[in-house]
């Protein structure tokens, strides 16, 4: 898909379809997963090409963070996993909070300079993409298809490189750490939420199946499970490495800390009001 975007999507065509208001644009981008559902691993090469094609970084980040949660597949799996535990309310809360956080982070990124967010190579590709007015331009279709394949393969291998490192780290933590160590934290109101987010970061589960795991943490309060299901698809061990394929390390670190604090505070607030 990223290769086809590279060759066949004219530069800046998306900005014509997005609302002019930055806030509305970020909100629409955060909802794009409903139409173009992607998992958290597959979305990174796609947004990389979309950024090169002129999609504002704030919109790309909003789409990247929201799409693994705000999509029909995740909604259905969450509903199925929480049957008998207020499935409709929980699914709505998960998608709603996922959208809200993604839009909020998107607006924060809107206020940052693009150079502080993107890696140098990606910045250069943005410049190249802006100069390229029509994807593959007037080249023959065969040559454009070959170029699309080259771009797709390159994106695949680039992301795989980071994915393998991230998956190795996640698998070590997922198998070598005794997960029962987390259970006593469930009894503590203030620690249940951050400990579940920490667990989500370590387990690095796919957003289409993580709800089935979260639903089994019966001793944890609902808000802690909500934090697990919102934080996990946005930031985990493997994603730290995958994001590093596109974004500056400092930005990835800031994003990880920001998401942890933001989701943690919102979920703690929700617990105070009795969720």
């Amino acid at each position: 898909m990223s290769g086809l975007i590279d060759q066949f999507l004219p530069a800046r065509v998306m900005t014509r379809f997005l609302p002019r208001s930055p806030f509305a644009g970020v909100c629409v981008s955060a909802l794009m997963g409903l139409v173009f559902p992607m998992c958290e691993c597959g979305i990174v090469p796609v947004i990389r090409r979309l950024i090169a094609k002129g999609l504002p970084v704030s919109n790309a980040v909003a789409y990247m963070l929201a799409a693994p949660i705000v999509n029909p597949i995740t909604a259905l799996s969450t509903y199925a996993a929480f049957r008998g535990q207020g499935a409709a309310e929980f699914t709505t809360l998960r998608l709603g909070l996922g959208f809200f956080i993604a839009a909020l982070v998107g607006m924060a990124v809107y206020n940052l300079s693009i150079g502080s967010v993107l890696k140098k190579e990606i910045l250069e590709s943005v410049a190249l993409g802006s100069a390229d007015s029509g994807g593959g331009g007037g080249a023959p279709i065969t040559r454009r298809l070959v170029a699309a394949m080259d771009a797709g393969v390159r994106d695949f291998l680039d992301v795989m490189l980071y994915f393998i490192v991230g998956a190795a780290a996640a698998s070590v933590f997922g198998t070598a750490i005794n997960q029962s160590l987390f259970l006593p934290l469930a009894m503590h109101d203030w620690l249940a939420v951050p400990s579940m987010m920490g667990l989500a970061g370590i387990l690095a589960l796919c957003s289409s199946s993580d709800a089935f795991v979260a639903a089994t943490f019966v001793s944890f309060p609902a808000v802690a499970k909500l934090a697990f299901l919102v934080f996990g698809p946005m930031m985990d061990l493997k994603l730290v490495f995958i994001y590093a394929a596109v974004f500056r390390r400092r930005f990835v670190f800031g994003l990880a800390v920001g998401l942890f604090v933001l989701i943690g505070l919102i979920c703690l607030r929700l617990s105070v009001i009795g969720l």
């Binding site: 291998l157 089935f212 795991v213």
Partner: protein, 272 residues
């Protein structure tokens, strides 16, 4: 890296990944890692990678051999030796060395599931599960159990650990198994708790929703008069009587073993 070298390197990496995925599917090793729903997509992914690998070679005439990476920025591979190593060495080591199953310490780190309420697919039973309360059989329990319970040639019910765990929590299902002879297969684990007389062990199967990453070890207790002594994680078949005594305020599964024998690992090591 020149454009031609980049193309050959990318093709080689895709070839190795594609062959690995196809090999895992054809050899059945994929069953140790993924839910059956993902076996065919994995095979297709392997074929697609092989197709791309071949296509990269057949389209080499489109490449300007003098083109450098920093000029085109669209070569199919932009990494160096280290990147190639990261992309290939872990994969090849995994293919060569992975045992295709968790170790006992990994299973214990995951935490044994001995209560069906900790299972991903759990939904509260219609009837109360706790002893002492009025228990009304659910509609399903009115069906003839022979319609949905499989039996072996000796007439014993062939059950999974997860079936028995659900039965412990639901009276309707419990009646199907209680005091009946069952055959259950799983992996042997020493009983670390609830074993004061030292004559119990755990029989474990991994329950999977998606892939090995979300595997939950589902364990039931087996009571054996002649102490079964196998290495941890050995595949065993237990034939015995299913009982559901109340321990710790809830019904638990205890198989009163008549025989415990080592078996070959099944093709499908997970339950779903």
């Amino acid at each position: 890296m020149s454009a031609t070298t980049s193309r050959f390197t990318a093709s080689g990496i895709l070839l190795i990944w594609g062959v690995t995925l196809v090999y895992f599917q054809l050899s059945g090793r994929v069953a140790s890692y993924l839910h059956p729903d993902f076996h065919i997509p994995t095979f297709i992914a392997g074929i697609v990678l092989l197709a791309f690998s071949v296509a990269l070679i057949f389209t080499i005439r489109f490449v300007d051999p003098s083109g450098r990476e920093d000029c085109g920025a669209r070569h199919p591979f932009g990494g160096g030796i280290l990147a190639v190593a990261v992309l290939l060495v872990p994969l090849l080591l995994a293919v060569r060395m992975s045992q295709g199953q968790f170790s006992a310490s990994t299973v214990m780190n995951r935490g044994l599931v001995t209560d069906s309420s900790e299972l991903p697919t759990f939904s509260s039973p219609v009837d109360p599960a706790l002893p002492g309360e009025s228990e009304t059989p659910v509609d399903g329990s009115m069906m003839d159990p022979s319609l949905y319970l499989k039996k072996n040639a000796d007439g014993q019910i062939v059950a999974e650990t997860v079936d028995l765990l659900y039965a412990a929590a639901e009276e309707g299902m419990r009646a199907d198994f209680e005091n009946k002879d069952v055959e259950v297969s799983g992996q042997f684990l020493s009983a670390r708790t609830g074993n004061p007389a030292g004559d119990r062990f755990q029989l474990m199967r991994l329950f999977v929703m998606c892939c090995a990453a979300d595997a939950r070890p589902v364990a039931i207790t087996v009571h054996s008069k002649s102490l079964a002594d196998f290495p941890e994680m050995t595949w065993v078949k237990v034939i015995g009587t299913a009982t559901f005594p109340v321990e710790g305020g809830r019904h638990i599964v205890v198989i009163e073993a008549q025989s415990v024998s080592e078996i070959e690992p099944p093709v499908e090591s997970f339950t779903y």
